[in-house]
């Protein structure tokens, strides 16, 4: 169970940089528009 929790949380956390990149991109585009 511990290992499953580690896998899920680690992969979930790895999506945060992607979400942040998308959010910053969108905010820059909105400012630009």
């Amino acid at each position: 169970m511990t290992v499953i929790w580690i896998l899920v949380s680690a992969i979930g956390l790895a999506f945060l940089p992607l979400l942040l990149a998308l959010a910053l991109d969108r905010s820059e585009r909105n400012k630009g528009g």
Binding site: T2, S9, L13, A14, P17, L24, D25
Partner: protein
């Protein structure tokens, strides 16, 4: 069987050398330094991933997991994720500066040549040490897998990556990195699948008692967990070989997304490496755990054809990280030290100096590693440890304060960089003598942060063009 390994290794080295030389088509300083700032998302993600996964990651993390099981994830994955988040935060801003080196950012932002030269010297020193560790790890691996003597392995690997880095600079490094990241990722994933099959799923579903815990090894409690998260989380966004790729990106979106997409893929690779390590902990005899666990598992315990892609994966990990490091060392010496001392601006001359310094540093480091591998110097792993703490303590605060805090001044940045480095060295010495037990990054970073804030508030800020670019709201016409 050794002939198969040696033949595969030779063919692999030749292919990578050709890709590197193929990447060397344009002989401009801009191509050597920042790949002409034309790097698209595919190449950017490939080079970011290949640079991130080093021999220390593959051999070190799997070796750690072979002893301490899944606590290797607590030790590495979460801190890495924090580092990637900070990299994304800095990517767009750093890309907008259109500079060529990280110390140049300090110079343009704070108008201080001293800070530029100091920053470059620390980076060159620390990266030379990390390069040696990479090559030593490669020597051990090829010795275990192919029976090649460690020093011969180091000399061959060194000749390959020094040649293509010197010839093509970042343009060649990026192209070889894409090939190497594919080999690396697929090799490690294949390794994890084979380990899961061989352990009948136990490596993930039911690892034996000492290997199944979240806490273990360096992570004894929640405080250790957050401590190491800070070490990696603040160390990663300080590393020039990642930041430098933001300059080379085509636009701010590519700069950010290479880390965003790379992070997800890297986490899968890391968890695969840990799976292999836990598998080694289950399958290897107790005498073959630790740093040799990964090569031993695939050479002796599992055996067969699988060990050939694994050899490729490890070689790719070493060469891609080493070429990224060496490129920074050669280029930063030419642009941040030689150019400042000789007051030269001729691009052709600077390109020649960049290539020459890449060749000289690369040759020296390769020869030194080949020598050290035969003359057991236990200090080398200890010295490698200081590299991470030293870099973060010296560079993190000046860099991030420079990027995000308008009030940061030249005196504050100088005090922060020199004070951070000094306290990291003192902390390291105290830890070696057993007076303190925590990582030197804590006193280093604390001193660096405190000095930046106090000295910046006590001194007047300078008005530089870069400061204006970073902190003035961009104006957009509405048409």
């Amino acid at each position: 069987m050794n002939l198969v390994y040696l033949g595969s290794f030779a063919a692999y080295s030749l292919v990578i050398l050709c890709v590197g030389i193929w990447g060397y088509r344009r002989g401009s300083l801009s191509s050597f330094a920042v790949a002409e700032r034309k790097m698209g998302l595919f190449f950017a993600t490939g080079t970011f991933m290949a640079t991130f996964i080093s021999a220390v990651t593959v051999i070190g993390v799997s070796g750690y997991a072979s002893r301490f099981g899944w606590s290797a994830a607590a030790f590495s994955c979460y801190g890495y994720a924090l580092g990637w988040i900070l990299l994304v935060a800095a990517a767009g801003r750093l890309h907008r500066t259109e500079l060529s080196t990280v110390p140049e950012f300090l110079y343009r932002r704070f108008n201080s040549t001293a800070l530029r030269v100091f920053g470059a010297s620390i980076i060159i020193l620390m990266y030379s040490i990390v390069l040696m560790v990479q090559l030593l790890a490669m020597g051990i691996t090829l010795n275990t897998l192919a029976g090649l003597s460690s020093s011969a392995a180091i000399l061959i690997v060194g000749a390959v990556f020094v040649t293509y880095t010197m010839l093509g600079g970042l343009a060649a490094v990026v192209r070889t990195d894409v090939v190497q990241s594919i080999l690396l990722g697929s090799g490690v994933l294949l390794g994890a699948i084979v380990v899961i099959v061989r352990t009948k799923g136990a490596a993930i579903a039911s690892p034996p008692e000492p290997l199944s815990h979240f806490f273990g090894g360096n992570i004894r409690n929640v405080a250790d967990f957050f401590g190491w998260m800070l070490v990696w989380g603040l160390g990663i966004p300080t590393e020039s070989y990642y930041l430098h790729r933001f300059y080379a990106s085509r636009d701010a979106r590519v700069a950010r997304m290479q880390v965003g997409i790379g992070a997800v893929l890297l986490m899968v690779i890391l968890l695969s490496v840990i799976t292999c390590g836990v598998g080694a902990g289950i399958l290897n005899p107790p005498a073959h755990l630790g740093d040799e666990a990964f090569p031993y598992l695939f050479k002796t315990v599992i055996g067969g054809w699988v060990s050939v892609p694994i050899l490729f994966a490890i070689t790719a990990a070493v060469q891609s990280s080493s070429s990224g490091l060496l490129h920074i060392v050669g280029l930063y010496f030419a642009l941040d030290i030689y150019k400042q001392a000789a007051r030269q601006t001729d691009e052709k001359l600077l390109l020649r100096v960049s290539r020459l310094s890449t060749l000289l540093f690369g040759t020296f480091i390769t020869l030194a590693s080949a020598y050290v591998t035969n003359h057991s110097v236990p200090l080398i792993s200890v010295i490698a440890g200081i590299s991470w703490g030293g870099m973060a303590s010296t560079m993190f605060v000046p860099l991030f304060a420079g990027l995000f805090w308008e009030r940061a001044t030249r005196a504050g940045a100088l005090a922060s960089a020199i004070g951070g480095f000094t306290f990291a060295v003192i902390g390291f010495t105290l830890r070696q003598t057993g007076i303190i037990s925590f990582h030197e990054i804590y006193p280093g970073l604390a001193a660096s942060l405190l000095l930046m804030i106090v000295v910046s508030y006590l001194t007047a800020g300078e008005s530089t063009l870069l400061k204006h670019t970073l902190f003035s709201q961009p104006r957009h016409s509405s048409e």
